[in-house]
Symmetry: C2
């Protein structure tokens, strides 16, 4: 059990007005003047793969917008089983439940090196009081979390293992369909799809042999999307 020396790095104070992904984030609709309402620092942090953002039960006092990278949300069953219930990508909010006054419901762990903007809960609450523009965005975020959860269930926990793996890979590659996409470790794959590590491994190995999946480096692969779509359909 080796713990990385530093698993996070401070990248500076975020300048939300200049944000490169403004149109995706919580603050998308804010007007120039609204930013003067932000009186607490919004930090920009980067994490390595494997870093833990928070654990279930914590109350961090802030919520984080994912600027880049990939984060998994893990939930444990009473009997110790582990399931990954969602992935967070660019524009998603990590720890949204703290805005509803709840403790964190999941363990959040970085899959692909990720940069996040850490927004104090107080900032969100203040903006929500002062401007309706944030509010709409916040509801939309929440709704997206629900939609994602539902899609995760219907698409990734239904049907034979081959179809599930195919659907997950397609989903991972859907932004940037031509680029090599992230290929999760087999244990994570199993935990996402509700199948055993070995089954996940077998399916991926078969896809590689068939040429549907072409690994570039150990953690990424180029996909033959049409072939996978055929598999996903059944």
């Amino acid at each position: 059990m080796r713990q990385p020396q530093i698993e996070q790095a401070w990248r500076g104070r975020a300048e939300c007005r200049e944000c490169g992904i403004r149109d995706l984030v919580l603050f998308a609709d804010l007007r120039h003047s609204d930013f003067s309402l932000i009186h607490q620092p919004i930090d920009d942090l980067c994490y390595e793969s494997g870093a833990t953002l928070y654990r279930a039960g914590e109350r961090p006092g802030h919520v984080s917008t994912v600027r880049s990278g990939l984060v998994k949300l893990i939930q444990y069953l009473p009997n110790g089983d582990r399931r990954i219930v969602r992935l967070l990508r660019r524009g998603d909010l990590a720890g949204i439940e703290v805005l509803a006054g709840q403790p964190c419901q999941h363990e959040a762990v970085v899959l692909e090196p990720a940069c996040l903007c850490r927004i104090p809960v107080g900032v969100v609450e203040r903006l929500e009081r002062e401007t309706p523009r944030l509010h709409r965005r916040l509801l939309a975020r929440w709704q997206r979390a629900v939609s994602d959860a539902d899609a995760w269930l219907t698409a990734l926990s239904t049907g034979p293992a081959r179809a599930r793996v195919a659907r997950l890979l397609l989903r991972l590659s859907e932004q940037d369909p031509d680029a090599a996409c992230f290929l999760p470790g087999r244990e994570d794959l199993g935990a996402m799809l509700g199948v055993s590590t070995e089954t996940a491994s077998r399916v991926v190995a078969e896809f590689v042999r068939s040429g549907f999946v072409r690994p570039t480096d150990p953690r990424h692969a180029q996909l033959l999307r049409p072939a996978l779509e055929r598999v996903a359909g059944s």
Copy 2:
């Protein structure tokens, strides 16, 4: 394909101030004076089993609080497969996504005869502007939808079929642990748990033979909770 003559009945204009389940609903924290902000009628409607509240893609213009009964939310896969992604009970909101400006994401069908209060979107929006008290409740509702979705995945779509059925039944009986709880049709059971109708049937039949489940009428059963908890654990 027989369509009931009337599948809904108008029970009158709801008097929210006097609501019997005020502490559970969206308007829980409203003060007496806040109710004067409601300028559109809130109708109280009752539906029979099998009635459809809305279908995916619709934009109803209102959201409904479940006062009693049981409602299933159904989602279809591109290939035609059907999954029930959530159940709504007393206090839950049906069609919450319309408040985020989205069309309905599911088909909502009544499982147990249900009464709902139909709240125009305009009422919610107005109250949200005028009082922060509604707002907290709304966020809490949304968060609960996410939590329910996550729990549905981890508890009801993970592990062997026996354990899934046991967990679902326990969940259905958890309010009123001593009363007879709703026992879904086998096809619905399968769609909730991601198993075939036959498997659902076999498991229930086995539970009945073991005495873990004692049917009272065709759609309800008394549970031997300790026994089911043992099954659910594995």
